[in-house]
């Protein structure tokens, strides 16, 4: 097996991974960075983010406002020290991206423009039309090409974190082009692999969002934190799940039911007027909007469509000029994939799985509790998003904490940490290789990757969707456990070494199954309703018992084992989340 040495290994080359790599290169140019990704960097799912990135920009805004919006938006499950740091760093990181060439949309005076977003009191969402993630990702990727110390390993699928004496000392990864397992020895590893939306059947997430990094860390002994909190975005296209950005509501779009009635006024988000105003109606937070859809559906007030029930997102009153200038992608997507031109007709939409608030437990420096292991971006849970992320906080998060991970990794790698010995590394590598050999040799028993994936998708949607109960979650836990057992008998049809996607999909499914088990166990144990985690049998938030983070550890038998940790409260005591009303 080839052994490649690099001071810092970064797994994942989306927004967070690229930002971390650049931070290492800028902090300490002599450190060698190996940047691994299972896809080319431009394919990473950061590319699909649309609406924008939050950071205080206006004179009438303040860090305190951004802090308050984020903490109440997260239903007080955010760690407030992390949020404080986040809101202060946010404008700096967004400015840095401007200096690197990001084509932010502008005001007539040449300054960067900001737009309103759900749950945000004042306009503070920086945007590049409605392709913000695309532009951020390409800006980061192109900027990363400046630094000779960053060596990319594109289309390498990381199978294992190499652990010696409780310390993370590198990774094993399959070079997809050759099928060979390569060992990477490093002083520090940063995991930045993004979310896990593909665990669910109906998601905005691309095919690659399979929770690989979460599973890597989980198996290596890290905790997955707050995994029960899964965000449904209120406006996805039926059938495909393609995201229609919240920016379309930021620009003034409205949601109506089958009676052409703006139903959000019935769910503590009204009254209607004056309109538009922030933190009200369509500019409420995502959890509340998706939950309102569920209630409308129960009342029979949604609209029947070929791919299930929908409501209508109406942009017609914005006019063609504004739609083309601010929301060109939305128009193109709606025409192409829903056959609807939003200039002339409302877009059919329904809630769709979008984001994992939970992830690998890290501190505010992006460090996990495993020595030598950092994590940042959606795969991590530094706890700025709490029980419900506000739209446009995640693009900023991957910059702020991607940079911190990179800086921390650079300091650790430069500060006298040494490489683990080759013998120990090869021993770990052999174990990883033997696992793959067994998979290649396994004889089929009838279980298929696609069959298991469908069963997992169905169990998660019916058991751990927008509303949950003891019964639905017990069923989901039991099914997911069985799926974990069944997975052990999946065999490969494709035994080739070259670009074997049967193999990669099988490994991705294994990652999703581990992560899904952590999700269902955490959700079952949280007997309260908070943010995106809504229990029909425990309708109230319970701060006495659950103002705590869930920590899921993978026990020796593969089952999740739960622990809890208090939320960090510094200056905002848990209160009532107020939206609507007549505040402006």
């Amino acid at each position: 097996m080839d052994l490649i040495s690099a001071d810092v290994v970064i797994v994942g080359a989306g927004g967070a991974g690229l930002r971390a790599a650049i931070a290492v290169a800028e902090e300490t140019p002599r450190l060698k960075v190996a940047l691994l990704s299972k896809v080319y960097p431009m394919r990473s799912h950061t590319v699909a983010a649309e609406g924008g990135a939050a950071g205080v920009a206006r004179d009438d805004d303040s860090f305190d406002n951004h802090f308050d919006d984020t903490v109440s938006g997260g239903d007080w499950l955010c760690d407030q020290d992390a949020v404080d740091l986040f809101v202060r760093e946010a404008p700096r990181e967004l400015t840095r991206l401007e200096h690197w060439g990001c084509p932010w949309s502008r005001q007539p005076n040449g300054r960067v423009a900001v737009r309103p977003f759900g749950g945000m009191k004042i306009e503070r969402t920086w945007y590049a039309a409605d392709k913000t993630g695309f532009h951020m990702l390409h800006t980061l990727f192109q900027t990363s090409l400046k630094y000779p110390s960053i060596e990319r390993y594109d289309e390498f699928y990381t199978t294992d974190l190499l652990m010696v004496d409780g310390r993370c000392v590198g990774v094993a990864a399959i070079e997809m082009r050759s099928g060979q397992l390569r060992l990477f020895r490093s002083k520090v590893v940063v995991v930045a692999t993004g979310g896990a939306g593909r665990i669910f059947p109906f998601t905005t997430n691309g095919a690659i969002k399979t929770g690989d990094g979460m599973a890597l860390a989980y198996r290596a002994g890290a905790a997955l934190k707050d995994m029960e909190f899964i965000q449904y975005h209120p406006t996805g296209l039926p059938g495909t799940g393609i995201l229609i950005t919240e920016g379309s509501r930021g620009e003034g779009g409205i949601l109506v039911n089958k009676d052409n009635y703006r139903y959000l006024q019935d769910y503590d988000l009204g009254p209607l007027d004056p309109w538009p105003r922030k933190k009200a109606m369509e500019l409420g937070p995502r959890d509340r909007l998706s939950q309102a859809f569920w209630h409308e559906q129960k009342k029979g007030r949604t609209i029947k469509g070929p791919h299930g029930d929908v409501v209508h997102l109406d942009l017609r009153h914005l006019g063609e000029k504004l739609i083309d200038e601010r929301l060109p992608l939305v128009r193109d997507l709606a025409i192409s994939y829903a056959g609807v031109d939003p200039v002339r007709a409302p877009i059919p939409v329904r809630p769709v799985v979008h984001y994992t608030m939970g992830g690998i437990d890290t501190d505010i420096d992006a460090k996990t509790r495993i020595d030598g292991l950092f994590a940042a971006g959606e795969c991590a849970c530094v706890s700025i998003n709490g029980a419900n992320r506000l739209g446009s906080n995640s693009l900023t998060e991957l910059l702020v904490f991607g940079a911190r991970a990179g800086q921390g990794a650079a300091r650790a790698a430069a500060g006298g940490r040494s490489f683990a010995g080759e013998t120990a590394i090869f021993e770990q590598g052999r174990m990883a290789r033997d696992g793959l050999s067994r998979l290649f040799q396994r004889v089929g028993s009838g279980e298929t990757v696609s069959g298991l994936r469908r069963d997992m998708n169905a169990a998660m949607e019916s058991g751990a969707g927008i509303y949950r109960t003891e019964e639905s979650l017990r069923a989901a836990c039991a099914t997911m456990r069985k799926i974990r057992d069944r997975y052990a008998s999946v065999a490969l049809d494709d035994k080739s070494n070259v670009y074997n996607t049967d193999l990669i999909q099988t490994l991705e499914l294994g990652a999703m199954i581990d992560v899904a088990n952590a999700m269902t166990a955490s959700a079952l144990a949280r007997k309260e309703s908070r943010g995106s985690h809504q229990r029909l049998d425990f309708e109230k938030r319970d701060d006495d018992k659950f103002l705590k983070h869930s920590l899921a550890y993978r026990a020796a038998d593969g089952d999740p084992r739960l622990e809890y940790r208090d939320v960090v409260i510094t200056r905002s005591q848990p209160g009532k989340r107020v939206y609507g009303g007549r505040q402006s």
Partner: protein, 247 residues
């Protein structure tokens, strides 16, 4: 669900096993709203686990799923079955070496993106504390179109010049150079000229315009190349008339 079925003839090639590429046919259903990628996913999930191809976003922004569909370079996630005949031939992108099935070798394309120095070279470095550069909407508009490239490489598969000379820097990379050259915040044009204005750069383009025709994002690389040619010619005459002006 519609009754219609289509036949996909997919190029198969596994260098571990096959001496040369071959075609394999699959019958798939054809719902009204399916794209070619949905049909290929159907094959992968239900008929043949050994088929390899790239895809992710299914919304024409990640740039992974470019392939030849009935001889034309297209994104399979944005090509609807309803617009295609009953028999659809699917091959990997033309002019690229085949890695496996519909997966092509992207290394050359990736290197070329890097060679044009696709990053902002500011006149003076600004500290973050000093805030953003000013850029008017008009200045943004001058290069915005060229920022929209998703690196899908369809333009390389369409380009007759790239087919003849794989050394050609090619449409996407030249458009990317033009994107930075046209950015009011950038002064890196001279640094990029070594590659952009070389024999393998803009002058290799014979202005057929196939790149712009197939571009799914309407980037218009052909226009970028023409504009670069003009700017580069002006540079040449300025150098002739004012020797040493670059100082």
């Amino acid at each position: 669900m519609s009754e219609r079925q289509v036949e996909l003839e997919i190029l198969r090639y596994d260098p571990d096993k096959d001496r040369e590429p071959r075609f394999q046919a699959y019958r798939v259903p054809c719902p009204e709203d399916w794209v070619v990628l949905d049909a290929i996913n159907y094959v992968k999930d239900r008929l043949d686990r050994t088929l390899s191809y790239r895809w992710s976003c299914h919304m024409a922004v990640c740039g992974s799923c470019g392939m030849m569909i009935n001889g034309e370079p297209k994104l399979s996630c944005k090509t609807f079955l309803r617009d295609q005949p009953d028999r659809i031939r699917i091959e990997p992108l033309a002019s690229f070496p085949i890695e496996r099935d519909l997966v092509v070798v992207m290394g050359d394309f990736m290197n070329k993106l890097g060679r044009v120095k696709p990053y902002l070279v500011p006149a003076e470095k600004k500290a973050v504390e000093d805030g953003s550069y000013l850029q008017s909407p008009g200045q943004l508009k001058k290069f915005k179109q060229y920022t929209l490239c998703i690196n899908c490489a369809l333009c390389y598969a369409a380009c007759p010049q790239y087919a003849l000379n794989p050394g050609f820097i090619g449409p996407a990379a030249l458009a990317l150079a033009h994107r930075y050259n046209s950015d009011s915040r950038d002064v890196g044009r001279t640094a990029r000229a070594d590659v952009v204005a070389s024999n393998e750069g803009i002058w290799e383009c014979s202005f057929v315009g196939a790149c712009s025709e197939v571009c799914p994002e309407h980037v218009d690389p052909a226009a970028a190349i023409q504009q670069t040619k003009i700017a580069s010619t002006i540079d040449y005459f300025k150098d002739l008339l004012l020797p040493g002006r670059k100082g």
